[in-house]
């Protein structure tokens, strides 16, 4: 909707009235309801196709949805005999791993990325190292790290590696993408190098950091699966899926996959929401 600007003369000054956003709200509400209905419909179609397919193929590898949902519910209610844990325990374990790996990556990537984007010297020093490590799929580290650092720390480091590089590249890219004219403006207003860093570079990089976080979390969830498959200590959804595959409990395998989907989806959705909120707060849209 176009902005309505109404100018009125008052003491020789022009003042403005903010645009009304009443109709905007109802518009959005209708759009929201529409999206929900379509989502429900699409998911129903998906489950229907799944059901049909499972009946048609009739193989234990593709159990029908009702059996899977039963297994899913059950997995949350009581600990299963293979892992000795409830799905809830496993979710907590996996989430803690992702959180640790993520926090580590965040704490290191943000300052490093900002400095690398800002200072040519630091960049030329660290770029070769970063470029050597970046193309290595984080999962490739998993077997080594699990042996070298054990089943507790190893998975966290795998996730760290997974999250670190996309976050770092995004931040460096963010610093580079700052409009030069904003720096000029800051300089004419008296900003020195330090001021520039704190008051211009960091805030204008925030959107890129947020995007990096969202992408990084998605990768984090993929890494945790790999690490848990390879022998993480202390449970986890990945471990559950692996053992259930071994005993051919495919209903429970699918339950685990659904949990992964929900976890991955909700973290990226959540960070997407935070991203939008922050952007809005910062007036960046």
């Amino acid at each position: 909707m176009a902005m309505i600007t109404i100018g009125t003369i008052k003491r020789g000054l022009i003042t403005f009235i903010r645009p009304s956003d009443v109709s905007l709200k109802t518009d959005r509400r209708i759009q929201f309801v529409k999206t929900i209905i379509i989502t429900i419909f699409s998911l129903s179609v998906f489950i229907g196709v799944w059901w049909g397919l499972s009946l048609l193929i009739d193989t234990p590898f593709l159990p029908p949805p009702d059996i899977v949902f039963e297994a899913l519910l059950d997995s949350f209610i009581r600990p299963d005999i293979t892992t000795g844990r409830t799905m809830w325990d496993n979710v907590v374990t996996s989430s803690i791993r992702v959180a640790w790996g993520f926090a580590l990556a965040f704490v290191l990537a943000v300052p490093l990325g900002l400095v690398m984007g800002f200072s040519k010297t630091v960049e030329s020093f660290s770029k070769p190292v970063v470029e050597v490590f970046r193309p290595i799929a984080p999962i490739a580290w998993a077997p080594l790290l699990l042996i070298a650092m054990g089943g507790k720390v190893g998975p966290i480091i795998v996730i760290f590696i997974g999250v670190f590089f996309p976050l770092l590249s995004n931040i460096i890219f963010g610093v580079r993408s700052i409009q030069p004219i904003l720096m000029d403006a800051a300089r004419t207003l008296g900003a020195k190098r330090g001021d520039m860093f704190i008051k211009v570079i960091i805030p204008s990089t925030v959107p890129y950091i947020m995007t990096g976080i969202r992408i990084g979390l998605g990768i984090g969830w993929m890494c945790v699966v790999a690490a848990e498959f390879l022998g993480a200590v202390g449970g986890g959804v990945g471990q559950y899926v692996q053992f259930k595959t071994e005993v051919n409990r495919f209903d429970q395998v699918f339950a685990g996959l659904i949990v992964f989907s929900i976890l991955g989806l909700s973290t990226t959705e959540l960070s997407g929401w935070v991203e939008r909120r922050v952007m809005k707060r910062m007036g960046l849209k």
């Binding site: 000054l13 004419t188 008296g190 805030p203």
Partner: protein
């Protein structure tokens, strides 16, 4: 005499040779004077302004402000950009307070000053709005207030109203004159519009084709507000237009 530009030369190095944007540009600007610089596109208007602001350095020549040689950006010169260059993550108030924050002005004084400036540029009610919520004219009001907040001696404006529609532009010209009269700042104002220059300036500096220096200076000692419909306005405008047209070589 306040701003003094002496034999300014600016050459940009190219892959082969150099591009001489400005050659032998000399100008003195008096305190409180409203100067407009006119000239064909690419003649080096922005370059001159950026050098005055300290964002660029000249190849040779001397620029001084109140006798002090200009070495870099400083809060004695405020700049207003055609693209507004507002900090999108800062509210109107925070944009205006940016320079004061850097100078560590106490919060209370900062608020008082920014409030005064918001009133001066007519943005009451929009203190907490972010730039993306503002129209072009409003954005440039913020740009002007932000530049004024540092209490500069001189206001450097690079086609500040170039991105605005004709109506808003006319309104903003009046607003600017009002602010200028209230604050008594020296203004160096770059524009493409002869009409705008004649409406605003005490003196109009017309620049020629690259490598450019000053082709002509027009004194306009008329009263303000000026009447666009008047004969003398129309005549002067025609004269300058003709001058400019002569300079633009047929392509």
């Amino acid at each position: 005499m306040m701003l003094s530009i002496e034999k300014l030369r600016k050459a940009f190095p190219l892959e082969e040779g150099e591009l001489v944007a400005i050659e032998d540009f000399t100008l003195d600007v008096k305190k409180g004077e409203f100067i407009c610089i006119l000239g064909p596109s690419g003649c080096g208007k922005t370059t001159i302004l950026r050098i005055i602001a300290g964002l660029d350095t000249q190849t040779s020549g001397k620029i001084s402000l109140d006798g002090k040689i200009i070495k870099g950006p400083g809060s004695d010169r405020g700049m207003v950009f055609q693209e507004f260059a507002l900090f999108p993550w800062r509210s109107v108030r925070k944009n205006i307070e940016f320079g004061m924050e850097l100078r560590k002005v106490p919060v209370k004084t900062r608020h008082e000053t920014s409030q005064k400036l918001i009133e001066l540029v007519g943005l009451e009610g929009f203190e907490d709005a972010h730039p993306h919520e503002l129209s072009g004219g409003m954005k440039q009001r913020v740009g002007i207030a932000r530049a004024l907040a540092n209490e500069p001696d001189i206001l450097l404006m690079d086609e500040p109203f170039g991105a605005l529609d004709a109506q808003t532009r006319n309104m903003m010209q009046k607003e600017l004159l009002r602010i200028w009269e209230e604050t008594k700042k020296t203004v160096v104002f770059i524009t493409h519009s002869v009409d705008e220059a004649v409406f605003l300036a005490d003196r109009i500096v017309v620049m020629g084709e690259r490598p450019s220096s000053i082709t002509e200076i027009y004194d306009i000692p008329w009263e303000r507000p000026r009447e666009r419909a008047s004969m003398e306005f129309a005549n002067l405008r025609k004269e300058i237009l003709a001058k400019l047209e002569m300079m633009v070589r047929p392509e």
